[in-house]
């Protein structure tokens, strides 16, 4: 990814001190049209990641949720069952605890610690992909920082955002954090084994999510018991096949 972001190459990131000479312009005030998105820089990196994933035949899924929704447990179960080559990028503010859990499954994993940051951006992911060097078709799971707000705005170059909501949270989260549910193509309702013990109305949750995003797909499962996991595995395999076909067609 450094090939297009220019990191590590001197004089490409910081362009200060260039104005110690006069340009011959007068001090008159003028207006300049810009018309450029604030996130255009991130979006350019995301487009670079997306191209790379397409070239390599890698289906990238960006998993987003609150902290504690069971993302890592789901990921471990998924990798054990999937039967496709997989790699993982783990995003957390601190520690590599999640990466260690994933590493025990035997798949390549790269931890990104965002420090004070509340989301992954496309530039960080580009570097993590370079370090992972998947080099083969398969599925790349990007476990974003547990946060239902900021990761919604940052495209990482993924094929799909998948939002995970556990039944120990409120069913009204799609309404409270609408940007994330709007950005996602699939909502997974996790920890369904706990439904008898909590006050969570699945039907209402799905209705709320579809108010925000009418065509969002929904799967219900328990990563702990494995109930409903088959449908999720099927969803990934189907997307992976479709993705490979699309990439092959595009390549002619």
């Amino acid at each position: 990814m450094c090939t297009y972001c220019g990191c590590g190459q001197p004089d490409t990131h910081h362009h200060h001190d260039h104005h110690d000479h006069e340009h011959g312009t007068d001090e008159s005030v003028r207006r300049i049209r810009i018309e450029r998105d604030i996130l255009s820089r991130n979006n350019a990196f995301a487009a670079g990641n997306r191209d790379y994933f397409a070239q390599q035949g890698i289906l990238a899924l960006n998993l987003v949720s609150s902290p504690g929704s069971g993302k890592t447990t789901l990921l471990v179960r998924t990798i054990e069952t999937l039967g496709l080559p997989a790699a993982v990028i783990e995003g957390d503010q601190q520690t590599s605890l999640d990466a260690e859990r994933i590493r025990q499954t035997g798949v390549p994993v790269q931890q990104i610690n965002t420090g004070k940051g509340c989301h992954l951006d496309a530039h960080m992911v580009g570097h993590a992909v370079t370090a992972l060097d998947p080099g083969a078709p398969g599925v790349l799971f990007i476990e974003n920082v547990g946060n239902l707000v900021c990761p919604a705005a940052f495209d990482l170059g993924e094929a799909h955002k998948v939002v995970i909501l556990s039944v120990t949270e409120g069913e009204d989260k799609p309404l409270k954090y609408p940007d994330m549910f709007h950005a996602s193509d699939l909502m997974i309702i996790n920890k369904t084994d706990l439904l008898p013990h909590v006050d969570f109305d699945v039907g209402r949750c799905i209705e709320y999510a579809r108010r925000i995003k009418p065509d969002i797909e929904v799967l219900q499962l328990s990563a702990t018991t494995g109930d409903g996991l088959d449908a999720w595995i099927g969803w990934i395999r189907k997307r992976s096949e479709n993705f490979t076909e699309t990439v092959q067609q595009a390549a002619g």
Binding site: H23, I32, I34, L175
Partner: protein
């Protein structure tokens, strides 16, 4: 972005920044103003005025088959009450124009 433009367009100070923000951009204008002052300190935009241009939120209602206004993501269609809305405008967060010297 401003620093890059300063080089290509040969200016040394930014006096005003016009920013278009839609109600569905996920941005709080007050927080943005606070952040703007902080991040422009020590840059060519230090002391610049931030002008926010509100962009209307719009959606296509699949039920009514027409454009309707939308203030937030959880809105229903103001005409028919359905939630089958596809956002068509209001997600902007864009630098529109600069006043420079």
């Amino acid at each position: 972005m401003l620093q890059e433009r300063a080089e290509s367009e040969h200016f040394s100070r930014v006096k005003v920044v016009w920013l278009e923000i839609g109600p569905l951009a996920g941005v709080e204008p007050l927080a943005l103003r606070f952040g703007f002052d902080a991040v422009t300190k020590g840059t060519i935009a230090e002391g610049a005025r931030l002008e926010i241009i509100d962009v209307p939120g719009q959606a296509w209602c699949l039920a009514c088959a027409k454009q309707v206004s939308m203030k937030q993501r959880s809105d229903a269609c103001p005409e028919c009450g359905a939630y089958q809305l596809q956002v068509t405008g209001g997600e902007e967060l864009r630098v529109k124009e600069l006043e420079v010297i």
